[in-house]
């Protein structure tokens, strides 16, 4: 019998999928989920190569010439030195380039075939390969299926196949398993997923070892390849015949950016697995690395601590005997501790440290402070938050140090200038602020002498950032003070770079200061004007860009300042091509809108020739500029419609209204905008007539572009210009493109709605066709299509009604009604909205389906959780409750009331507001009692939002049905012992009195007793809410003769003025202000006078605050109420107000 049964296996293994799951989990655990974000947080890793060029910059000390002059000492490392260093750098750059050129030439001549930096051309490789193959004697090409003469096999055969030695010899060849390589027998190829156990134990993401030993960075780290020391050289070289040459006087060893994060130098002794710094960071994150402390002696606990910090702050990490340290060392450690606290500390720690470092800034001195701060800012692993904090430190310290910063200006600039081209807006603002403060502290002369050498620096990056920094200096110290310098720089004969940077400074000034350049416009324009004829093309381009920026900043004023440049610009566009032409056109585009309408036509005519020529350009940048200039031309007043129609439009449409333009997003935008601008002059019919046929184009993106343009043009100019022929083509095209769309798009929907609404009654002949399209699409199987059809119905409902096609509307209504079972919430929402739109235009009585059928169908839909559905439903229900409540039985309405309570919890404010309003409508038709009961009961629920909305609803019911129906019920409910209910009642009353305004006068006396109770309650919230009621009540009854009860309430509110809880005191202050309106400022002043000079400061502070708001509210009215204090007069001071004592 046992042989029949399936035999049980005696050992089980885990199912494969479970193993796989474990493996996956193990892999997942190993991944640091924050690794990627950490690298994104680091500024350097996020920025472009251009921005990271800042690490290559070199800072030099800028000597304080002023101080030196005062003290009579010789200046060291001043302007002269800086200029010399800069000259040297330039020379170095030039020589380097020469060498490169020479090498390239040599290579081209074929002397040097292999350039290690570049991939050699393919032909060369093949040649070399052929040579190699010939040398080794084997054929290079071998097909996989051709048998290979295996050397091992031959050997084995020689020894005899079955010999033991042979087998042993062959075996290790097959199992080439080395300890550090992948074990071959586990079958790495079989596992489908890359998992950890079949990998080499080397860390994958470790930096690649440098192979080429003479790489510049290598010498410093590697023991074997460091520079030779003097001793070693002595040993190597003969003693005679060699002399040690002293370094040249200007020589400064190259300062490399501090590489603090570099991996520590390890003893090179055989193979070892390299420890990657990432692994250390991971371990630290897991709390496994004891070497990264979070508690540091003298600093306390920190929010975080990075491995780079450990190197940087090494000095303060270990305990030291402080008595052995010198004063300077102590100072240094103190600064480091404070910086560490600021950089890594928790907010309160950071705050105190920041205050300390600011207070002691002058004691520490500029040198020690900046020596610590600036290298930190150049750290490659710096993150946004750290940078922000360090920049803040600099800002504060600057303020304190004032002119002591002078020697460090250049160092600070090198660090701060990169902020000016940061992609983050706030970083740019911070950078500007620092440079502005720096220039105020150091003074203009010093700033200029420090930054002058960088103006014609060899590196474009340096010149760019310097120009931006200069513009900040100009805005801080005023343009006029910088103008002489700018003039000199812009005319520099020595180098075109200086001129280029000077003009760029002007451009940046214009961009940064906007219309504030107006007073200096002529000077700035004159400053750069000659650059248009510069011999260097880059300078001409930059000049044009600078003029464009100035004109843009000055718009719409200041054309007279540009007089001198008009001729060169307009001549220039005939002379230039390419990039500089683009810049010239840009400048012209910005100057045109400033011109007088009388003259502008001439200038436009001149530029149009060039523009039309450039319509055909293939350069994207040029295209964009040309489009922009056309737009600017069209917008000017002087250009006529006839001119645009004749001279611009034909070529414009020929070159820009082509399918290709619709593919690039930016071109698309530009073309649409420009066409709309042209339409403003040329008229709807002209533009629409030209493009309407393209609505039937076969390319969908192009149809969309046409549709968007037509939409915008028609929306801004209307459709009255469109004649019958065009109308037919337009409607035809729109229906076609609407039907042919493959991706349901907002553009098509908007276009259809806009055009049909603009045509109004003229679409009547086409309505049957349109509606049949909608009906067809309402039954489409794609939910998106159905949704779009419903949305279109919403937009067309008004026009269909205007055309008198009620039949069509009722048909649509019925079809939509049948669709209410829709399962996609987005589509359902649109369908309900469409039904609502139809109900809106048709009216409740004519509505088909009848309201009494429609509403019960909506009740279950109210439970749908989707926001769009909720909103559409509640709007429809509210509309029905407002207009046609009588068609629906009261029981149905009560059912809806209960459902509506749920909607009060909605997240979207619109839904809650609609729900609350619906309560009002329902209460109006049913009478308030039942609805009110529902709402008051709802005050007992837990959820605050629901309660708050109920109180609002109660107030609305009170407003629509009259306060007298609700206030008794609310007062009655207030007697409940439950806190939530009582607060709810108070809250409801606040809204009631806010809504009913002056009507409150009838109810003031009846609520006084309740308010007495609430204002003397122990509970803060009670008093707060009661104060709000008092405020609204007092404002409502002002001037209506309720002063007696208001005075009573004032006496109850007044003692609360010493409350400290923000909301309570706010409410109380508001109530007191409201009392000023009702009771008059005099009464209030008599309350306040008691405490204005009270011995206790706490009392005085409160009373003065009340006094101030009273004073600001009724300054003039207080004059008669001030007490007569003539008796306080003493000596010269007479306090009698004599003019008030006169009488006739």
């Amino acid at each position: 019998m046992s042989s029949e049964e399936p035999r049980l296996v005696d050992s089980f293994t885990v199912p494969k999928d479970v193993l796989q799951e474990f493996q996956d989990m193990a892999e997942e655990e190993d991944i640091d989920p924050f690794a990627e974000t950490a690298s994104k947080r680091q500024i350097a890793s996020r920025q472009s190569d251009y921005q990271n060029r800042r690490f290559k910059r070199q800072a030099n000390e800028s000597a304080d010439a002023f101080k030196a002059l005062e003290e009579g000492t010789e200046v060291e490392g001043g302007y002269q030195d800086a200029m010399r260093v800069q000259m040297l750098e330039k020379e170095e750059e030039r020589v380097k380039r020469l060498i490169e050129d020479k090498e390239r030439e040599a290579r081209e001549e074929g002397q040097d075939k292999m350039d290690l930096d570049k991939t050699p051309p393919r032909a060369e490789i093949e040649e070399v390969m052929k040579d190699l193959a010939a040398a080794s004697g084997t054929k290079r090409k071998r097909r996989w299926d051709v048998e290979e003469p295996a050397a091992g096999e031959v050997k084995a055969e020689d020894k005899g196949e079955w010999l033991k030695e042979a087998l042993e010899e062959a075996a290790p060849k097959k199992r080439r398993s080395r300890w550090d390589a992948t074990p071959a027998d586990v079958g790495a190829g079989e596992t489908p997923k890359r998992s950890r156990w079949d990998q080499t134990p080397t860390v994958v993401d470790a930096p690649m070892q440098q192979i080429i030993m003479n790489a510049p960075g290598f010498m410093h780290e590697d023991k074997h390849n460091r520079y030779l020391t003097d001793e070693e050289l002595d040993a190597l070289l003969p003693t005679s015949g060699y002399a040690i040459v002293t370094p040249p006087p200007g020589y400064a060893p190259m300062v490399r950016p501090p590489k603090l994060s570099a991996t520590p130098v390890t003893e090179v002794g055989g193979f070892q697995i390299q420890e990657s710094s990432d692994a250390a960071a991971q371990a630290a994150a897991a709390g496994l690395a004891p070497e990264l402390p979070t508690e540091i002696p003298g600093v306390g606990s920190l929010a975080f601590f990075k491995p780079e910090d450990a190197q940087y702050f090494a000095k303060i990490l270990k305990e030291e005997d402080e008595t052995e340290l010198s004063v300077d060392e102590m100072k240094e450690r103190k600064i480091m501790r404070l910086l560490l606290k600021i950089k890594n500390g928790t907010p309160p720690v950071r705050k105190t440290a920041l205050r300390q470092i600011t207070d002691k800034a002058r004691d520490f001195g500029a040198g020690p402070l900046f020596d610590k701060i600036l290298p930190l800012l150049m750290e490659r692993t710096l993150e946004d938050q750290e940078r922000h904090l360090l920049v803040k430190v600099i800002d504060r310290v600057l303020y304190k140090l004032d002119d002591l910063v002078r020697p460090y200006v250049h160092k600070i600039l090198v660090v701060i200038e990169p902020l000016l081209i940061d992609e983050d807006y706030y970083a740019r603002v911070e950078g500007r602020e620092i440079i502005s403060n720096l220039s105020k502290a150091a003074g203009l002369a010093h700033m200029i002498s420090t930054m002058r050498p960088d103006i014609d620096h060899a590196d474009e990056y340096v010149r760019n950032t310097t120009a931006r920094a200069f513009s900040v200096v100009a805005s801080a110290l005023g343009i006029p003070s910088l103008l002489p310098f700018l003039k000199a720089v812009c005319r520099s004969k020595k180098s075109w770079q200086a001129r280029h940077t000077g003009i760029r400074i002007v451009q940046q000034i214009a961009i940064m200061m906007g219309c504030a350049v107006l007073p200096h416009l002529r000077n700035l324009v004159d400053c750069i004007a000659h650059g248009l004829q510069d011999e260097q093309q880059k300078v001409r381009t930059m000049t044009a860009l600078g003029l464009a920026a100035l004109a843009e900043a000055a718009a719409p004023y200041g054309i007279e300042s540009f007089d001198n440049v008009l001729k060169p610009l307009w001549v220039g566009i005939r002379l230039h091509r390419g990039k500089s032409l683009a810049a010239f056109l840009k400048a012209i585009g910005f100057i045109l809108p400033l011109m007088d309408p009388e003259y502008v036509a001439y200038y436009i005519k001149e530029v149009t020739i060039i523009l039309i020529r450039e319509f055909q350009t293939s350069d994207e940048e040029m295209k964009k500029i040309v489009l922009k200039v056309v737009q600017q031309c069209a917008a000017t007043e002087g250009v006529t419609a006839a001119y645009i129609k004749q001279d611009i439009l034909p070529d414009f449409f020929k070159s820009f209204w082509v399918r290709r333009m619709a593919l690039d997003r930016r071109n698309y935008r530009q073309v649409v905008d420009t066409t709309v601008e042209l339409a403003q002059k040329a008229g709807v019919a002209e533009i629409v007539g030209r493009i309407v046929n393209e609505l039937k184009d076969e390319a969908e993106p192009y149809r969309k572009m046409v549709m968007e343009t037509i939409t915008k043009v028609v929306a801004s100019l209307g459709a009255s210009d469109i004649d019958e022929r065009l109308e037919v083509r337009l409607v035809d095209g729109i229906i076609y493109s609407f039907q042919e769309q493959t991706t349901e798009d907002q553009v098509m929907l908007d276009g259809f709605g806009t055009v049909v609404n603009a045509l109004g009654i003229r679409v009547k002949p086409y309505l049957t066709q349109i509606v049949s399209t909608i009906l067809w699409r309402l039954n489409n199987k794609s939910a998106k299509v159905r949704q779009q059809a419903a949305d279109l119905t919403t937009r067309l409902a008004v026009v269909i009604k205007q055309c008198g096609e009620d039949q069509l509307l009722s048909k649509l209504g019925l079809v939509l009604f049948e669709q209410l079972g829709e399962e996609y919430p987005d589509t359902l929402g649109s369908i309900i909205a469409a039904e609502g739109a139809i109900a809106n235009v048709v009216g409740m009585t004519q509505m088909n389906p009848p309201v009494k059928d429609l509403l019960p169908r909506m009740t279950p839909i109210l439970r749908n959780r989707h926001e769009k559905v909720q909103e559409a439903t509640i709007n429809l229900i509210g509309r029905i409750a407002d207009r046609g409540a009588e068609f629906v039985p009261a029981r149905e309405w009560m059912r809806i009331c209960f459902e509506l309570l749920d909607l009060l919890k909605a997240h979207k404010k619109g839904i809650r507001r609609a729900a609350v309003n619906s309560f009002g409508y329902i209460a109006k038709s049913l009478g308030p009692q039942d609805v009110l009961q529902v709402l008051l009961t709802n005050l007992r629920v837990q959820e605050r939002q629901s309660r708050v909305c109920s109180t609002v609803a109660i107030a609305i019911v009170a407003e629509t049905c009259g306060p007298f129906t609700c206030i008794p019920a609310i007062l009655n409910e207030y007697r409940t012992a439950e806190l939530n209910v009582r607060t709810g009642c108070l809250k409801a009353l606040t809204f009631v009195f806010e809504y009913v305004g002056p009507q409150s006068a009838y109810y003031a006396d009846s609520v006084v007793t309740m308010l007495e109770d609430a204002l003397t309650d122990r509970d803060l919230v009670h008093r707060q809410t009661a104060s709000v009621i008092v405020k609204h009540l007092a404002l409502g009854v002002a001037g209506l003769g309720c002063e007696d009860s208001m005075l009573h309430l004032m006496n109850l509110v007044w003692p609360n003025c010493f409350e400290t809880s923000p909301h309570v005191i706010g409410a109380v202050m508001d109530a007191i202000e409201a009392m000023r309106v009702t009771l008059g400022p005099g009464v209030l002043l008599s309350y306040i006078l008691q405490g204005l000079f009270h011995p206790a400061r706490k009392v005085r502070e409160v009373y003065w605050r009340v006094y101030n708001s009273l004073y600001l509210g009724a300054e003039d009215a207080l004059v008669p109420f001030y007490p007569d204090l003539g008796e306080l007069s003493e000596g010269q001071n007479v306090f009698d107000r004599h003019p008030l004592q006169m009488f006739i």
């Binding site: 400290t1060 809880s1061 923000p1062 005191i1065 706010g1066 202050m1069 204005l1092 000079f1093 400061r1097 005085r1100 502070e1101 003065w1104 605050r1105 006094y1107 101030n1108 708001s1109 004073y1111 600001l1112 300054e1115 003039d1116 207080l1118 004059v1119 001030y1122 204090l1125 306080l1128 003493e1130 000596g1131 010269q1132 001071n1133 007479v1134 306090f1135 107000r1137 003019p1139 008030l1140 006169m1142 009488f1143 006739i1144």
Partner: protein
């Protein structure tokens, strides 16, 4: 004010108050407060034509003269400030 209130709208209100002339604070002296009162009174007289003409009649002066004198008196309506104690 307590530190709790420092971060609320109420202190902003206080800052706002401090920007206007005539508002006061807990350390305001008698002289300063009364000077403000006097200036307000004088400004009120100049600003209300009925009050100005009333005073003109009572004083037997021209209306313009009264206006001028009131404006002039705003400079130091209660005499020079008292000497500081400390």
């Amino acid at each position: 004010m307590s530190s709790e209130l420092r971060y609320t709208a109420n202190t902003q209100l206080e800052h706002l108050h401090a920007r206007y002339t005539g508002t006061g604070h807990a350390d305001l002296t008698k002289y300063e407060w009364l000077t403000h009162q006097h200036r307000d009174t004088l400004a009120s007289i100049v600003g209300h034509p009925t009050l100005t003409s009333y005073l003109a009649i009572a004083d037997g002066e021209a209306i313009g003269r009264v206006k001028f004198e009131m404006t002039e008196r705003m400079l130091q309506p209660c005499g020079p400030p008292p000497a500081k104690d400390d």
